[in-house]
């Protein structure tokens, strides 16, 4: 089926839904690279006009990747909740945007429709939303998840503590972990990207992180972000696996590029659940996503990078995850060229995931070959904080010495909490208070001298 709109006396025709969505997408280098971007600014707006008139229900009849050929499409179609969709079933994309912004669309109603929203519907409506729209609607959505603490509630900004080290040196990782805890970071997860994907190495890292957690009775969870098959093997060998991590993407072929299938994810999910390590809940999957992953795997099927990214959230949603985050600026300038494109993508990813009911956080980050700097990160972290992002990622001094890119510093997350009046997860905040690192009455982080903190025993200091 083709689509058309007339703008400024010119008639624009879009050959199919993929072409329409791609043409309507805000400009980004990845779509230019794929040859999918609108050929002019006028064409881009014409595509948005055509898209705004399209009924939401149309997205249930035209699949972007054929049902027979793609298990993500099958998951989207088969899991679609018609009852949840009913209240919005008669809306167009444009009408859906207006409804989302209306006061009628409150937290409860947005939660009720989430299982009826497909990735393509979320992507489509995001393309006709301005940045402030993406923030205003996402802010109304509350997705609460639990493992050893409670995150996602209004007024809470959690954080992942990412203590990476270029050679997985246990002391080096312990030091960065201590550094982050002293800044009140780590309530979402203490999660290390291992330099080596070796199982022995993963076991050693998990053992150390679990020992720290138990020694100081920290109400949080740890994770070694290794391939899901490694995690299953670590579970089989008795490792202290709290969360199962995996990078995922929006098509079957792109997931195969990551070496994963829905079946493998299911198997890992079941294996970790059987350990019963969560105390408050059993949300235990942790996924990372990011625009450009499908294109870089040659598995985007002619779909623009923002739309195909949202399909990964359908995969995430199927496993009731504790955490999901987009690694928004990591992939490089060939997909998101500069601070403006990174900012837009971060807000889109967060909004679309939340609209679908997925607990979205963000690695607010960039590489040194992108046209971006820490000023762009300051802006995006505050925008996402205002949008109610589930968690942000922090590394010591914003410099990841293993992956060679810049994320946020632990202090940046403190600034976001303080500027926007946000708090750590309540159980974690109570623990920080007990450790003398947080004053609940002023909601202010405290910074006692290192030697006077109980945590410094972790690295051999005697307070």
């Amino acid at each position: 089926m083709s689509y058309a709109a007339t703008l400024s006396g010119q008639r624009f025709v879009f050959r199919d839904l993929r072409h329409l969505l791609a043409s309507a997408s805000p400009l980004r280098s990845g779509d230019v690279l794929a040859g999918l971007a609108a050929s002019s600014s006028t064409e881009r707006v014409a595509a948005r006009l055509a898209l705004a008139d399209l009924p939401l229900s149309h997205f249930l009849s035209e699949a972007l990747v054929p049902y027979e050929r793609d298990d993500v499409t099958r998951l989207i179609i088969d899991a679609h909740d018609k009852a949840a969709f009913a209240p919005i079933a008669s809306m167009t994309i444009g009408g859906f945007r207006d409804w989302l912004l209306s006061h009628q669309a409150d937290t409860a109603r947005l939660a009720a429709i989430a299982p009826g929203v497909t990735p393509e519907m979320a992507a489509a409506v995001s393309k006709i939303m301005r940045n402030q729209d993406l923030i205003a609607v996402a802010r109304k959505i509350e997705i609460i998840t639990r493992f050893r603490n409670t995150i996602g509630q209004r007024g809470v900004l959690a954080s992942r503590l990412q203590p990476n080290h270029p050679t997985d040196d246990l002391k080096g990782i312990a030091l960065s972990t201590l550094d982050g805890l002293l800044y009140g970071s780590g309530d979402a997860v203490i999660g290390v990207n291992p330099a080596s994907d070796n199982v022995e190495n993963g076991l050693a890292l998990l053992d150390m992180l679990d020992t720290i957690r138990q020694t100081y009775d920290i109400p949080t969870q740890s994770c070694v972000l290794t391939h899901v098959t490694n995690t299953v093997e670590i579970i089989n060998r008795g490792g202290a696996v709290d969360l199962v991590f995996q990078s995922i993407a929006g098509t079957q072929k792109a997931n195969e590029g990551f070496g994963v299938t829905l079946g493998l994810l299911h198997e890992a999910h079941e294996a970790a659940k059987s350990l019963n390590r969560g105390t408050l809940g059993d949300n235990l999957m942790y996924f990372e996503t990011g625009q450009g992953a499908a294109l870089s795997a040659g598995a985007h099927h002619g779909i623009d990078q923002q739309t195909v990214e949202t399909r990964a959230y359908a995969v995430a949603r199927a496993f009731s995850p504790l955490l999901v985050n987009t690694v928004v600026g990591f992939i490089g300038p060939e997909y998101l060229y500069d601070g403006k494109q990174i900012t837009r993508a971060g807000l889109e990813d967060h909004f679309c995931a939340k609209l679908m009911g997925v607990p979205m956080g963000c690695d607010v980050c960039y590489t040194n070959h992108a046209e971006a700097d820490q000023g762009d990160m300051d802006a995006l972290m505050l925008l996402l904080g205002a949008a109610g992002v589930t968690f942000l990622i922090g590394v010591p001094g914003a410099d990841d010495v293993m992956l060679n890119y810049q994320s946020l510093a632990f202090s940046d997350i403190l600034t976001t909490r303080s500027v926007l009046g946000l708090n750590p997860a309540p159980e974690f905040a109570a623990w920080l208070e007990k450790m003398g690192l947080y004053d609940a009455t002023t909601a202010r982080a405290l910074a006692p001298p290192l030697r006077e903190t109980e945590l410094s025993r972790m690295i051999g200091f005697q307070p």
Binding site: G332, L403, Y405, T415
Partner: protein
């Protein structure tokens, strides 16, 4: 003050000794919720150096000098400039048509490509030494003249090897500069290279720099890989699986394992 120390140093700073254990920016001084002026400017200085490393071009005279007595051939990718290179990885992977004629076809066991990638200085500092060491270690091998590739990505080695008629290609390339290391080099080895070759058919040594994998050690590993590749007639996953445990997990070398599939959160330059 014009020279910013990389790390603040005061006798009273309890983090000072601990920084020997990691190059991470731990224990930064705090003011309110923020960082102090010194740390903010140190970070900006490191970012500026990494940015400049991305945009710096090869010093061709210097490279010719360091590669002597070998006489390098100089080719370009299809990306005409840095801006295009950064946004069009497809162009950086293919050889400019005009450059194909510069490559003499021969009966080569091995070709070396020195590509700027994302850090020309990494390759200028370490590329020639790796080339000479491998050549000395493989005296019986027919090795093509080294090829310097401008605006090149890893896969440009496939086009170059095809034009040369080489059975194996080692691409020495500048990796993404980080704040602590702007001059890290990677080596990608491919047996029977051809355009369209998937990354799973390559072996990689990464993090070759002063504070990472040393040049001597990198050459020992690389020459081992080259000999094995010659014997097995393959590189990539198949070679990785047969590699002995050259270095134990948890030792400082753990991150330099020969990899075939790219790990999480990483990519091929």
């Amino acid at each position: 003050m014009s020279d910013l120390p990389e790390k603040p140093s005061t006798a009273s700073d309890p983090w000072q000794k601990l920084r020997d254990l990691t190059r991470a920016r731990i224990g930064l001084a705090r003011t309110g919720n923020g960082q102090t002026t010194r740390d903010v400017l140190s970070f900006q200085a490191a970012h500026a150096m990494a940015r400049d490393a991305v945009h710096m071009a090869f010093d061709l005279d210097g490279l010719r000098h360091d590669l002597a007595p070998a006489a390098p051939l100089i080719v370009s990718s299809a990306a005409p400039d840095r801006t295009t290179y950064l946004s069009r990885p497809d162009l950086g992977r293919s050889l400019a048509p005009a450059s194909k004629e510069l490559l003499p076809r021969g009966d080569w066991d091995l070709a070396f490509v020195l590509a700027d990638g994302l850090s020309a200085q990494a390759v200028m500092q370490q590329g020639p030494a790796v080339f000479h060491a491998c050549r000395r270690a493989l005296p019986a091998w027919r090795i093509a003249p080294p090829v310097i590739a401008l605006q090149g990505r890893v896969a440009i080695g496939d086009d170059i090897a095809e034009a040369l008629g080489a059975r194996m290609v080692a691409v020495l390339i500048g990796e993404r500069p980080g704040l602590s290391v702007p001059n890290s080099m990677g080596v990608y080895l491919t047996y029977n290279p051809a355009p369209g070759c998937p990354d799973s058919r390559r072996n990689c040594l990464s993090n070759i720099h002063l504070h990472g994998l040393g040049i001597d050690e990198a050459c020992v590993k690389l020459v081992w890989l080259m000999r094995e590749a010659q014997t097995l007639k393959l590189t990539g996953v198949g070679l990785k699986e047969r590699a002995p445990q050259l270095w134990a997990p948890g030792t400082p070398e753990a991150s330099h394992q020969t990899i075939a599939p790219t790990p999480e959160k990483r990519d091929t330059p």
